[in-house]
């Protein structure tokens, strides 16, 4: 052993006590720690910060690091494509006959998750039956549909009818609005504007 420095034992004891207190605090113990074995033992017993991994997310959802056999993520890269919600499609259609269903062409087969169709006519809608005033399809995959309609003759609006199922369907680039249901509504021979995205 080389002896080449003078040591202030009081200062050394104080410094070691400070280190021991920090170890005890972190380790949750009040036990006496002998230097150096006790210090080493307690430090080894302190859990590490866990395994952190990087992750790239390409789909919407809820992610748990435990599912990736890790304790957490050190870096997350999100690269979720826009899917059907990226572009707004629109158009008009004027049926020549009163009809319960209307087909519109999207121009592409992109999956549509939301749509709305409303009459753009300033002329009051008159009909022998109920009339579609607006149809809104909301939420992904048409989980909810709302149809606003009028009574026969169009003199008053009914309380909007909400469907848990879809009132429109998509086949390729064709989107079909369907006013039929428990309470059926018709599209009149007026200009309708539709939007889908």
């Amino acid at each position: 052993m080389a002896v080449d420095k003078l040591v202030d034992s009081t200062q050394l004891d104080s410094d070691l006590t400070s280190v021991a207190n920090a170890i005890r605090t972190k380790g949750g113990t009040s036990a006496q720690l002998a230097f150096p074995a006790g210090f080493v033992r307690e430090i080894d017993a302190i859990p590490t910060g866990g395994t952190l991994i990087t992750k790239t997310i390409t789909e919407n959802g809820t992610y748990d690091a435990e599912d990736d056999d890790a304790d957490g993520y050190s870096e997350v890269t999100v690269n979720v494509s826009g899917g059907g919600g990226g572009s707004l499609k629109s158009g008009t259609i004027t049926p020549a006959e009163r009809t319960m269903t209307l087909d519109v062409n999207l121009g592409s087969a992109d999956t549509i998750t939301n749509a709305v169709i409303v009459p753009a006519s300033e002329t009051p809608l008159k009909s022998a039956g109920r009339t579609v005033f607006a149809m809104v399809i909301i939420n992904e995959s048409y989980k909810k549909s709302i149809v606003c309609g009028s009574n026969s003759g169009g003199s008053s609006l009914f309380t909007p009818v909400t469907y848990d199922g879809s009132k429109i369907s998509q086949s390729g680039s064709t989107l079909t609005f369907n006013g039929g249901g428990t309470t059926s509504y018709y599209f009149e021979t007026v200009l309708y504007r539709w939007f889908a995205w």
Binding site: G91, I93, P95, T99, F158
Partner: protein, 87 residues
């Protein structure tokens, strides 16, 4: 703007703007719209369909029984009882 018409079995079912169907000129679109605005008055037994030559063809249909109107909600019942607007 692109104009189109939907034809089914020699009858014009609809016209519109946007993608798909049979493309037509704006002039033809406007002439079809004008024809639709001048559609003869239909009755419960007589309906009309628009031929491709823009004339209306009548056809008979079985009268359909009127569909029941939705039951009024509590607020509408109260309006009726208080003399408010009823349908």
């Amino acid at each position: 703007m692109r104009f189109y018409k939907i034809i089914n079995d020699q009858y014009i079912k609809a016209v519109g703007t946007g993608h798909g169907w049979t493309e037509i000129s704006e002039e033809e679109y406007e002439s079809i719209i004008t024809a639709i605005h001048n559609k003869p008055q239909e009755t419960a037994e007589i309906r009309y369909r628009l031929k491709t030559d823009l004339t209306w063809e009548s056809y008979e249909v079985e009268p359909t029984p009127p569909m029941p109107e939705p039951e009024p909600d509590a607020e509408e019942i109260l309006d009726i009882l208080l003399g408010g607007d009823a349908e």
